[in-house]
């Protein structure tokens, strides 16, 4: 398929959506490297990527709807992402919890009975 030229508002809209999306993806990756411990690192990619991918997908929907035909099937990616992002985050957090990875010192443990969440009896 030829890349068709976009005009005026569509050009600006698509480019800014893609840039915003990639910015959030970048911030998510920076967070992955910068936050202090495993559990905190988990927060960055699960959340920032949703908006990152969302921005790029929105840009793609608008681009293909304007240039060729009405295009919605990018929305499927969003559905899959919303279904899988929390589940993978949950499994990683669970693994981190059961392996008792080191947490940053100022983490407060507010559980009444921590043993109710561990493997040991």
């Amino acid at each position: 398929m030829n890349m068709t030229e976009l005009h005026g508002w569509a050009d600006w809209l698509v480019s800014s959506l893609i840039i915003i999306g990639s910015l959030f993806a970048l911030i998510g990756s920076v967070g992955l490297a910068r936050l202090p411990d495993f559990m905190a690192r988990l927060h960055a990619p699960t959340k920032s990527t949703t908006l990152g991918v969302g921005g790029v997908i929105l840009g793609s929907i608008i681009y293909f709807s304007v240039t060729t035909a009405f295009s919605w099937h990018e929305l499927l990616i969003t559905i899959f992402l919303f279904l899988t992002a929390p589940i993978s985050a949950h499994l990683l957090a669970k693994a981190g919890l059961h392996l008792e990875l080191k947490r940053v010192e100022n983490t407060r443990d507010l559980r009444a009975q921590p043993n109710q969440y561990s493997d040991e009896d």
């Binding site: 959030f24 911030i27 998510g28 920076v30 967070g31 910068r34 936050l35 202090p36 411990d37 559990m39 905190a40 988990l42 927060h43 960055a44 699960t46 959340k47 920032s48 949703t50 908006l51 035909a69 295009s71 919605w72 099937h73 929305l75 499927l76 559905i79 919303f82 992002a85 929390p86 589940i87 985050a89 949950h90 957090a93 669970k94 981190g96 919890l97 947490r103 940053v104 100022n106 983490t107 407060r108 443990d109 507010l110 559980r111 009444a112 109710q116 969440y117």
Partner: protein
């Protein structure tokens, strides 16, 4: 109704999914999609051992949009925490007592918590009556629990009647 359509929302979801995959809407595709979305739930119904009924579909749609807005805000929050030079975050492990019952509602609530501002669900208590949440930056955990309760759990309770 329940003989031909054991799970009406699953059927609707499959039909929309099918049309999205095709990326065009023509009468033929709708008919084929309708046949598939009636046949597949009928065939797989025996395997569904976690029945859940949505009692208030409009509330569910409202919940979805509320969640979208909250994900947007949560993204900005996390971005601010990552980019701010000070690294004085206050993480905490919080026990969240559950009011709702049932596998599907609890799964939806846990996923919601994972997608929204600064919280991730890590584990469910052995008796299944509490979730363990890791919060990235929390001042007052009582307030966080109260806000999750009235923002999400109350709505889910209405939607699933559990």
């Amino acid at each position: 109704m329940s003989k031909i359509l054991p799970a009406p929302f699953l059927s609707l979801f499959l039909l929309v999914f099918w049309l999205l995959l095709q990326n065009t809407v023509t009468p033929g595709l709708i008919v084929l999609g309708a046949i598939l979305s009636i046949a597949i739930p009928l065939y797989t119904n025996r395997g569904r051992d976690f029945p859940a009924t949505i009692h208030k579909p409009f509330k569910a749609i409202e919940y979805f949009f509320l969640l979208l807005v909250d994900i947007l805000i949560s993204n900005l929050n996390i971005a601010a925490i990552i980019l701010l030079p000070s690294r004085h975050i206050k993480p905490a492990l919080i026990e969240y007592p559950l009011d709702i019952v049932g596998e599907v509602p609890i799964t939806v609530l846990a996923s919601t918590i994972s997608l929204t501002p600064g919280t991730i669900t890590a584990e469910i208590r052995r008796d299944g009556r509490a979730l363990m949440i890791h919060a990235l930056n929390v001042e007052d955990h009582e307030k966080l629990i109260a806000s999750i309760k009235q923002r999400y759990e109350m709505r889910l309770k209405e939607i699933f009647k559990c």
